[in-house]
Symmetry: C2
Subunit: 291 residues, 2 copies
Amino acid sequence: MSTIGFIGLGIMGSPMAVNLARAGHTVRGWNRSPGRAAALVAAGGQEAASIADAVRGADVVITMVPASPQVEAVAYGPDGILAHAAPGTLFIDHSSITPQTSVDLAAAAADKGVRVLDAPVSGGEAGAVEGVLSIMVGGAAEDFAAARPLFDAVGTTVVHCGPHGAGQTVKAANQLIVAVSLQAVAEAVVFLEKSGVDLDAALEVLGGGLAGSTVLTRKRANFRDRDFTPGFKLELHHKDMGIVTDAARAAGVPLPVGAVAAQLIASAVARGDGGLDHSGLLRGVELLSGG
Amino acid sequence: MSTIGFIGLGIMGSPMAVNLARAGHTVRGWNRSPGRAAALVAAGGQEAASIADAVRGADVVITMVPASPQVEAVAYGPDGILAHAAPGTLFIDHSSITPQTSVDLAAAAADKGVRVLDAPVSGGEAGAVEGVLSIMVGGAAEDFAAARPLFDAVGTTVVHCGPHGAGQTVKAANQLIVAVSLQAVAEAVVFLEKSGVDLDAALEVLGGGLAGSTVLTRKRANFRDRDFTPGFKLELHHKDMGIVTDAARAAGVPLPVGAVAAQLIASAVARGDGGLDHSGLLRGVELLSGG
């Protein structure tokens, strides 16, 4: 069993920390804004007073925060993780951030003898609560092997994708495909409806062929009923499209349909739809079609 | 059992005619270029000497030809189907053509007392041979009901989508989603590879989440191995993107990612890749990324 300092008890982090505590690990949780540790404490964990307090004596530190700036804020500086973590500590970052930030973090941590894995997840709040997340991991193979029992406590599909940053790269590719798929289905739905077709019949037959996708299955009711309760918010997907756009530029790979999807998500956020589920891309297609 | 005049014994039409003959129907097949009726004759069907010969005495006429001009060529004129079909004949067009051509054909046929269903299919040559096509049908409900035993002889997912043209509209939406999905996966694959990620590991985890799709499953080996043996040719998908582009313009629905995918397919055809499987869109992304 591990002693874990868990940083970031938000919508995703809190249930992940709970599942680690339930699996028998000693979990000390910290969150920037207070009052987020109740579920963890109820599951047998503890609330830490500071990052230093969470990290002290831990053999594993886990972070789950919104984006690159927050990872840098909790990792670096005199009050940060690297200032307090003992040499040999395993630092697992579940946040979805730019691959380059993960690479830089791993290098800075190595100077302190701390081993880092980037391990972004997909599956949303429901996946976090149920402990069935998909986890895409970058870093050294031996560190992946050491972290495996912890991953298995929060997820079911756990894959080592390559060196530092590779987990973030795969998560970025995931968000690219999801964004484009949502936009394609949104365009198809508006086209079908404006053409006078029975939408339910159409989506049934589309789902059975090469056009079938998890987006079509899981988001079908959202599209049909215009129910854009998140789910996964457009403003978060907007952040992720920034990551994949930057990472692909760095890799020298233009993304023609990905770039258009990124612009349309940016437009949705600019119009004030950032709080909607990402299936709310449908609204943009309707707007382009005269409302 | 029906007496069927079957026009168009190509890659798709021949196995469909065979399956109808095997189901016990009397099938007289005709093809513009000769020598295509061997499989049908072996299955108990007959070769017709002309469209008039195929249509004479038939209670059902079925067409399966490449595009709108070929449908118009076999339907209209003194040698065409409408000139020879008896009033009351059911005319099932399995071709993938513009919705407007289907609407116009239904109107012209109604003047002769001939009832038309547009019934484009998806599932490819393998689906045609195995009799497991998806069939998207537009036209009158009572004609759909009458045609149902014939559809069941060639397909497994058979859906009435709405009035004349609705089948074509759904097929167009299908091709839109498939094209965009293929392009999205192609962009993700090149991005992953150029980023140094283990592609097989990445596609495994992507397939398990919201990015999962039939394209990702069925075309995975094509992308990974650069095996672009068709399958479904880019030049045919190019034709279909023309259909969906025109139909969406007519419906007043812009298709932002669909339009980009259409341009990239047009580029592939212009570069001489039209004979490749549509997963060959990957080559375009590689070209944009420096080869």
